[in-house]
Structure formats: C-alpha cells, structure tokens
C-alpha cells in the first residue's frame, strides 16, 4: 500500500500538511521526488550537520563544473518529509531520474532545438496552472496557488490537489512532455521496487506528477520497463553546500524558485500569526535604522493589510497586502525607501550551514586542481608562513599569482602581497606571503554557494558583494584585483557597476580617491583595450564633477577632513599628467582658481591651490606675489593665514629657499605679528616645517640666520663651466642609451 502526496516545491502550506499527514499515516518508508543517484546525501537531513537553506549538489567527479543543484529550505515539504524519516528512523529514498540521465536528455534537447516545434504542443500546455489562475482572476499561477493551497494549511488539501491535477492532465491539449513521461515511468518503477519490501509507503512528489504515480499499480509495469530500457546511468557524486534565501528566490533563476523565502518561513513557522510577525519584524528593522515605526503604526498597518485582504476576498493577508500596507503606513507612501526592507523581510538574507563532516564539493576540488596547476601544492600543505617570489613572465608563476588574487577575491586570505612588492612600479615580480589556516576549508565550503569553479565563484561572490555599494574607491580596488586575477567577465561587471555608481554619485571625496586608482589601472594594470576605454569613460564622467564639486567641498570641511582632501588633491595633481584626457588639466586649474577665490574655502586648501597653480605655471610669479600678499594682509584672521601657509608649504617647504619674494613676504608677515597672535599660530607653523627633512630644516635655518643663498646661486647659474658640462652630458647620454658620438663635441 502506498499514499501519494502532491506538493508544491518550497510551499510552506504543503510542508505543514505533509507533516500532519505523515503523523496520521505512520509510513514505514518515505519516497521523495529527487535525483535517485543522491541517496547518500539523505542521512544528513534533519541532523545538526545541515542548517537550511542548503543545497544538494550532484556532480560528475571528473568534471565538477557540470553540477546540478537542488536547494531546500526549512519550509520545503521534501525537507520536512525527509527530516521526519530520519528522526523516526525509517528508510527514505529519492525516486526521480538520476542526474546523469537528466543531463543526457538535456544534451539531446539542445541538439533538437533547431527543429520546428512539434504540432499540438501548444504554448498553453506549458503553464496549465497559470491558465486556471487567470480564469479565477489572478495575475499568475504562483499567486493563485499560494492563496488556494499554501496560505492556510489543511491536510484535506491533498485530495483536492490530486483531483485538480487529474483534470488538468486529462484536459491538457497536446501530448505530455517527453521528459515528464520518462521521469514518471522511472518513479513508478522505483515505487514498485520499494513495494516489494515495504507495505505502508508515503510518496512525496510535485503535484503535477501525483496522478501518474497514484496509478502505479493500475499501469502495466512492462510498459515502463520498456521505456526505461537501455538508459545508462553514470556515476555521480553528491554533497551538501550552504545556500541562501537570495539564491532561492526566483530572481536568481532557479527553476522551482520562490518569490519570498523569508515570508514563507514565517508562514511555515506560524501560519496563524504570520502577518503580525512579519509586520513586527519589519518595524524592528526600521527602528534599527532610526526610522519611525511605533507600535501604534504596526497595529494600523496590520489592520490595513487585513482590510485589504478582505477587499480582495482573501482569507488572510499575503505578502502583497503586507507590503502595500507597510509602504503606506510605515514608509509614508514611498516604496523606494523600503527596497532594502523588501530584501530583508521578503527575500531574506539567511544563509545555511554545512558542517565539515559532509563530503566535498566541486569548488573544493576545483581549487585543489588550480593549486596543483600553479605548483603551489607544497605551500598549500604547509601550516607556517611561506614567502614566495613570483616572476610574472613565467606562465606557471603567473598562474600562481592569478590563483592567489582569485582566492583574495573569494575572501580566502591565503596569500598576502607584501607592501614593498615592486608590483606597483610596473615590474614583473611579486612577493607573496602565504599562510594556510585550518578554517579555509570551511570558507571554501561556504563559498560553494557562489559557484562550482574558482573563477565562477569569484565572479558571483563579487557581484553579490557590490550590489549595493556606492563607493567608487572600494570598487576600483576590486577592479584592480579582478584585472590581476584575469577575470575579464568580472572586470566588465565591475566597470558597468562603477559606471552606474559614478553616474549618480555625489561624494566628491570618494571620486577624488578613485582617480589615482583608475590612473594606476590605466598605467600598470594588465587591462584589455576595451577595459581601458571603459575606465577612461568612468574618468570622463567623474573628473569634471570633481572639478565642479571640489570648491564647494573645500568650504565645508573641518581640519581633519581638510588634511584628507589635501592629500587627495596632491594625488590628483600627480596623476593628472599620466591621464590621457587632455582637457582635465584645464578643468582642474579652473577648479583651483575657484577655490582660491572662494571666501569660505579652508585656508590650507586655498594655500595648496595657489601653490599647485603656480607649479603648473598657471599663474605668473607676479600674480603669485599678489595672492600671497592677499593671504597675508592684515585684514585676514591670523590663524587662517597660518593655515594658508601650511597648505602652501606643506611637503615642499624648501621652495621658500628658491622664492625670495615669498621668503620676504613670509618674513615680513611673521615679524609684523603681535606677540599674542604669534603664539597662537606657532603650533601650526611648527607643524608646517616639521614635515621637512633634517637637512632641509638646516638649510632653512641657515637662510633665516644668514640670508638666502639664492642670489649666489642665481649668479652661479650664469657662469656654467662649459667643459665640465660636456663631461656630464656624455655620462648622462650613456645612461640613457643615446648615441653618444654626436653628443661629444
């Protein structure tokens, strides 16, 4: 005797119904629609080795990239049924077609795609539930089914579902899908086999297959046998990996996905109070973000959701009603603000856990393969710190560098490039420190959720990581890393994401930090031509905005922030020359002009802007004199002037020695200061000169004591010894590899 239960995959109501039905039936064996070559994975279900959401992975050990995933959540009926079996200590089996046969069929199918569709296989037959739902006035099959069968659990539903499916199957126009026919034959055979041994079997399958399995004993076994004859099953390996609700959601493209995993969990855990619990949890999240969400509002929102569901003749509110009520009451009508709430409370951010006791996954094997190929096997085995010098011109050493960069992207900190690595100067060698930690295995298993090969996992993980980043600087760091990790696909994704962020960013400081990074990528990175275009496009988009926004920014900074912006301005200045865009320099100088003239701008940055313009020969020495004069004129606040001097001189105070005019002006200003004011500005001035090296300070001191060395130097430059000059020229020419013959007179 056997009992068939038609369920919807990941249906919370179905899950509860199954539990109750099993309690009543007390079966001696449970059969579940799932790949029958993965039976070895069943014993882990319901034990502390797995914490859903997790996914069953079935893969060909010879080619782990070809892996099939079967995710389960706590509200999946199959999960609950198998947990029941393992707890009660009764045998449980998967009865669906083995993965290798699925594959085989898919392969044939893709060859067959070129042929015209078979007559009679009308599009309507693809979505019979959708048709019924539309007849009943619903938008899609999903929401109709959800409302009818999942929202309120009741074991009697199984009979209704079976009847519904039976009539769908009979009424359905055209021939049934070939794959389904084979699968159902296989499942019937599996049931017949089990019936030899057990006498009270529970069969759990997708609702659509229910009638076909119900009829197992009425249909001749010989027909099924004939259909399955000659099918060859290849050996596959199966294991468990952690899964996320996000990937379970339809968005990630899984075929039997669900729209709202987090909501389904509430619905499974406490169907009667799901609406209240959902709204309360949403309100708590809002409060964590310091947004208004009082208890009174929660009550009102639940009331509104209830009224809405009555208006739409639903028994209890579903996630649509709850969301609409939350937007209207808690979000004051604006759904944009609640987008993140949707991600947390409707989709959910839960990630499952798999204990290391469970067998290995494809990603683990792929990483080991990569390590061997890069000849880092010995280093991978050794527990201590190993230093490794890589010459990127040698193929397998370059492969090692790529591997290490990819591990970094994946968040497995095996290798660390040492700070003094000469990479950034464009040389071909890298120095890495490698240290293996015991928890890496776990990290890899966790990363298994992102893909079955290292490259794929890196891409998926990074994609996930950056999905709501809005800082260009961090993204440009990843961009650099992805270039070094040789992942052109990821590079494309990052560039695209950066273009989007760049288009709407208003964070001038962030954009400023990004410029040197992008410049470094253009200069040293192993980038393709197309990427260089794209990086340039990003620069084109942000640089003009930096120039426009910087002046306003300089007017609203405190001293610490000003120091940061100071550094960034110097960085940009340094990189300006190597950027290919010729218009940038002019924009930049224009922006500096504005800063100098902006009364509210930080004086230190004004000083810096003045200096940068002078260095770029944008202003004449005469104008420089005038500007210095303005800055030091008596009307100015003394402290401001001191800051101005700091900005002007910082990191380059020796210039005083070569600018007699400046020296005199500074001297005049300082000696003109009243005592009190002098004491006030002294700390700033000390700090300004503290940055200079000892020798430089000595020179400055000498100049203060004995007057500037400038005049003598200038005079000396008029009387260069021609003979000596020639001698030096020859040496320099040789060093530079110029032909020397014509240089020697």
């Amino acid at each position: 005797m056997f009992q068939v239960y038609g369920i919807r995959h990941h249906g919370p109501g179905s899950a509860r119904n199954i539990l109750e039905a099993l309690q009543v039936q007390q079966p001696d064996c449970i059969l579940v629609e799932g790949p029958s070559d993965a039976d070895s994975a069943i014993p882990f279900i319901g034990t502390d080795a797995l914490e859903p959401p997790v996914s069953l992975v079935v893969y060909d050990p010879k080619d782990p990239r070809q892996a099939s995933y079967y995710p389960f959540a706590v509200f999946s009926p199959e999960w609950q049924a198998l947990t029941y079996a393992n707890t009660a200590g009764i045998p449980a089996r998967f009865i669906d077609l083995p993965v290798s046969l699925f594959r085989e069929w898919e392969k044939q199918q893709s060859l067959r795609l070129a042929l015209p569709p078979i007559a009679g296989d009308s599009p309507a037959s693809r979505d019979p539930l959708g048709d019924i739902a539309r007849l009943a006035g619903y938008e899609d099959g999903e929401s109709w089914w959800d409302l009818m069968f999942e929202r309120k659990p009741a074991p009697a539903r199984f009979a209704q579902i079976a009847e519904l499916m039976q009539s769908i199957r009979t009424e359905l126009p055209g021939s049934p899908l070939e794959l389904n026919t084979i699968r159902e034959a296989w499942m019937r055979e599996a049931i017949r086999q089990s019936l030899k041994q057990y006498h009270n079997i529970a069969v759990i399958c997708g609702a659509f297959h229910g009638p076909a399995l119900e009829a197992t004993l009425k249909l001749p076994a010989s027909a099924d046998k004939k259909m399955l004859k000659g099918l060859k099953v290849k050996k596959m390996t199966s294991t468990w990996i952690p899964w996320t609700y996000e990937r379970l959601a339809v968005e990630s493209g899984y075929r039997a996905g669900v729209l709202s995993p987090a909501w389904y969990e509430w619905l499974f855990e406490s169907p009667e109070q799901s609406a209240v619990k959902w709204m309360v949890s949403a309100a708590r999240l809002l409060r964590e973000k310091d947004l208004d969400a009082s208890a009174a509002q929660v009550i009102d929102a639940i009331r509104l959701a209830n009224t809405l569901s009555i208006l739409r003749s639903h028994e209890i509110p579903g996630i649509h009603e709850l969301q609409e009520a939350a937007v209207s009451v808690l979000g004051y009508g604006s759904s944009e603000q609640l987008d993140w709430l949707y991600r947390q409370t409707v989709i959910g951010e839960k990630m499952g856990k798999v204990s290391p006791r469970v067998p290995r996954i494809p990603l683990q094997e792929d990483i080991e393969k990569n390590i061997k190929a890069a000849r880092l096997g010995k280093e991978w085995e050794s527990p201590g710190i190993v230093e490794k010098k890589l010459d990127l011109r040698k193929p397998n050493q370059q492969e090692a560098s790529i591997l290490l960069c990819r591990m970094q992207l994946l968040g497995i900190p095996w290798g660390k490039m040492t700070e003094n690595s000469p990479y950034n100067t464009g040389s071909f060698s890298e120095i890495w420190q490698l240290q293996r930690r015991p928890d890496f295995e776990l990290l890899i298993i966790e990363a298994g959720v992102w893909g079955s090969t290292l490259a794929e996992a890196c891409i998926e993980k990074t994609k996930h990581q950056i999905r709501d980043w809005d800082h260009l600087e961090e993204m440009s760091a990843l961009l650099e890393l992805s270039g070094r990790a040789d992942l052109s696909l990821l590079t494309d994704i990052l560039i695209q994401a950066m273009q989007q962020v760049a288009a709407k960013s208003t964070d001038i400081a962030d954009m400023m930090q990004t410029v040197p990074r992008l410049a470094a990528i253009l200069r040293y990175g192993q980038t393709r031509k197309t990427d260089r275009h794209a990086v340039n496009a990003i620069l084109d988009s942000i640089f003009p905005r930096i120039c426009i926004g910087l002046p306003a920014l300089t007017a609203q900074l405190d001293a610490t922030q000003a120091a940061m912006v100071h550094r960034q301005m110097l960085e940009i200045q340094r990189n300006l020359a190597i950027l290919p865009q010729s218009t940038f320099a002019a924009d930049w100088l224009k922006s500096l002009d504005v800063i100098v003239q902006l009364p509210a701008a930080q004086p230190a940055l004004k000083g810096l802007a003045t200096r940068l313009r002078f260095e770029q020969q944008h202003i004449s020495p005469q104008q420089l004199g005038t500007e210095i004069h303005y800055a030091m004129s008596e009307g100015q606040n003394t402290t401001d002037t001191a800051f101005w001097i700091e900005g002007f001189l910082s990191g380059n105070s020796v210039q005083l020695l070569y600018q007699p005019q400046l020296w005199e002006q500074l001297n005049e200003w300082l000696s003109g200061l009243p005592d009190d004011n002098f004491r006030m500005v002294l700390p700033v001035l000390r700090r300004t000169f503290a940055e200079a090296s000892g020798a430089e300070r000595k020179k400055l001191l000498d100049a203060a004591r004995f007057g500037l060395p400038m005049q003598q130097m200038n005079m000396a430059s008029d009387r260069i010894n021609q003979e000596r000059e020639t001698q030096i020229e020859v040496v320099i020419a040789r060093l530079l590899g110029w032909p020397t013959s014509d240089k020697i007179r």
Binding site: T307, H320, S335
Partner: protein, 363 residues
C-alpha cells in the same frame, strides 16, 4: 439656481445613475454609513459591467491595487493622504471616492496659506455671539465638524499649503475622533463613516511639510504618473471628451486623436529625459508636464479650433499651449524646448507641421 447651467457637476451628481445601479447589485458587506461596499467603491472607480449589462465608466486608469489600498484605508480608522506631483488626479480621485463612499463630495476644506483653524474646527456667527453669548446657535460648524456629525467623508485639499499650526488642529480629530468646543463645554464625537481624505503636492514650492505627528495618522498613497503611452493617451482623451461636452465645444472629438497622441508623446519624452524608443537622451524642462496639463492644452486648442478655425484641431492650435506648458523657466526651459524641437521634432515623420508651428512661436 438652474441646474442646467452648471459648468461642472459634482461627482455624485454626474454619476448618480451609476451609483444607484452599483448600490442595487451591491452584495458586499458595507461599513456603517457607507453608501456602497468597499468592493463596489473600487468597481465604481475602475469601471465595470453590472449583471444587467449596465456599464460603469472607469474614473481612474491605472493600478487597481492602488485604489484598493486607498479604499481599504478609509475602512480602517486611519485617514488617507494622496500625494504626488501636480496633475496626477489626486483631487479627482478624492472627489470620486467621497462621492462613492458617502454620496457627498461637497464637504471640503481648501488649504491655502490663509486657511485658518476655523475652517477645520468651527467659527462663530459674531452677531449672535455678541447678542447671545456662546451658544449652539451662534456656532458655525466647519466641513470637518459636519462630516463628523453626519458620518461622512471630508476632503482637505492641498493640505501642505496650510500653515503648520492649522494642520496640527487635525491631529486630535484624527486620533480621538472628537472635536472639543470648550466655549460651550461640549464636544462633537464623530459617528461611524467619518473619515478624511487629504491631498498634497510633493513638488510644489512653498509648502509646509507635515509634522511627523500628523503624518503618522495618515496612510499615504503616492499617485504615479501614467505608466504607458496608451494609458496616458486614454486618460487625456476621455477627459477631453467630457470637458468638451460640458463646455459645449462644437468640435469633432475624434479628430483630435492625432493631436493628443503627439502632445502626450512630447510630454512623456520631455518628462522622462529620453525618446520613446529609449535610444536618445534629451534634457528635461523644469515643468511637470502632467496629464492634467495635456488636457488643458488640448481643450484650449479645441476652443481655438472651434471659434477661430475650421472646427478640427490643427498643430497651430496647440502649439501655443504646448509652449506655455513646457516653458516655465524662460531661460533653461526655452533652451531645452529649442533643442528638442531641432533634434527630435524636426526629424520625425508626420510632425513637420508641429515643428513649423512651434518654431514660428519661438521667434
């Protein structure tokens, strides 16, 4: 007053027959003092065909879920706030909801910078007040107070234009559902069916933001602009026909279809900053370019065509109105409009006359 000469009917007058028919077939449970059940109210708004074949015209084109949310709100004890940029049918919708729910859309407080607290609470007939002292007879109730007493919907237009302190007079009314009259030692307790629909512009300048205490007492529904070109054309067209009828403009309404399509396309493109096929980016003017503005451009175009033209609407008839709607800031918007004319309108097939007419005006 001769009812024949009224320029514009109230919703409950103009659609009296529809409301009667709906009530006839209304089987749903009705909240106390509601004329129709919530579901019939939604059907009144979206339009439907009744069992006897009677057709209820749609009043609002767009998302049905949004209407359900609005009507469900009124059935709870929270008030409804409709916000959105100008011309998204906020007032229109609030009038029709009030008409369908209470059968009366005339209890209305118009929010302006000069609206005083009396308009929300109550005022006095000063002659009587002086003669008799405070008494019920000397009291002049506000629309809000009358709605409370009769269990009806009261509408507050342009809530955010009222001074903040006047807005806040609504807080106790909405949360306690009572209005105290300390002068008489009395209070008015709202009877069932009372609720409030407020509308507020989200884009206008010079508005007074709602205090958070008041905001919390409202369920907010943000009214969207029409989603598709077809939807927007449909909205403009059906309103233009209605208006034309009540203004008795002797034009053939069908002849204006082409003009409406062109105008709505132009408005949508300028609003979204890209061409309808999504291939080109263009600049957007500062003006809102809502369906309401399209409607008034077409209607005035019709008036021009009817009285000064040959009765069928020509590009020249709407060009001036179009320019007036688009150019709100003479400097920026003029530039945007010129660019759009030169790059898009000029090149597009069948739009040559519009281009000529518009360019002539710009010179």
């Amino acid at each position: 007053m001769n009812e024949q000469n009224v320029i514009r009917w109230h919703a409950e007058q103009g659609n009296a027959q529809e409301l009667r028919q709906l009530a006839l077939y209304d089987k749903g449970p009705k909240p106390e003092n509601w004329q129709l059940s919530p579901r019939s109210v939604v059907e009144y708004l979206t339009g439907t065909t009744l069992e006897d074949g009677f057709i209820v015209q749609p009043k609002y084109f767009g998302d049905k879920r949004l209407l359900e949310l609005a009507v469900a709100t009124l059935a709870t004890d929270r008030a409804l706030l409709l916000t959105g940029i100008p011309g998204t049918a906020k007032t229109w919708l609030s009038e029709h909801i009030a008409a369908a729910v209470s059968g009366d859309s005339t209890l209305i407080v118009q929010g302006t910078a000069g609206t005083s607290e009396e308009a929300i609470r109550y005022g006095w007939n000063y002659a009587r007040l002086l003669a008799e002292g405070p008494s019920e007879a000397a009291l002049v109730p506000s629309p809000v107070m009358r709605a409370m007493q009769s269990g009806k919907i009261v509408r507050v237009e342009e809530l955010s234009r009222m001074p903040a302190e006047v807005q806040d007079a609504l807080i106790t009314i909405l949360s306690e559902k009572t209005l105290a009259i300390p002068e008489l030692g009395q209070e008015v307790q709202a009877i069932k069916g009372f609720n409030l629909i407020a509308t507020a512009n989200s884009r206008d300048q010079g508005v007074n933001e709602l205090s958070s205490a008041l905001r919390r007492r409202f369920n907010t529904v943000v009214m969207p602009l029409p989603g598709t070109l077809e939807e927007e054309i449909h909205i403009v067209q059906s309103r233009v026909i209605q208006l034309g009828e009540s203004l008795q403009l002797p034009v053939d309404a069908a002849g204006s279809t082409e003009a409406i399509k062109t105008l709505v396309t132009i408005f949508r493109e300028l609003r979204s900053g890209k061409t309808a096929d999504g291939k080109m980016r263009i600049k957007s003017p500062g003006s809102t370019l809502s369906p309401a503005e399209a409607i008034s451009v077409i209607t005035s175009g019709q008036a021009l065509a009817a009285y000064f033209g040959n009765g069928s609407i020509q590009p020249g008839d709407i060009a001036a109105g179009m320019q007036g709607a688009i150019i709100k800031d003479p400097q920026h918007d003029t530039q945007v409009w010129k660019e759009y004319l030169e790059t898009i309108v000029k090149e597009r097939k069948g739009w040559e006359d519009y281009y000529q007419a518009a360019v002539k005006l710009l010179k």
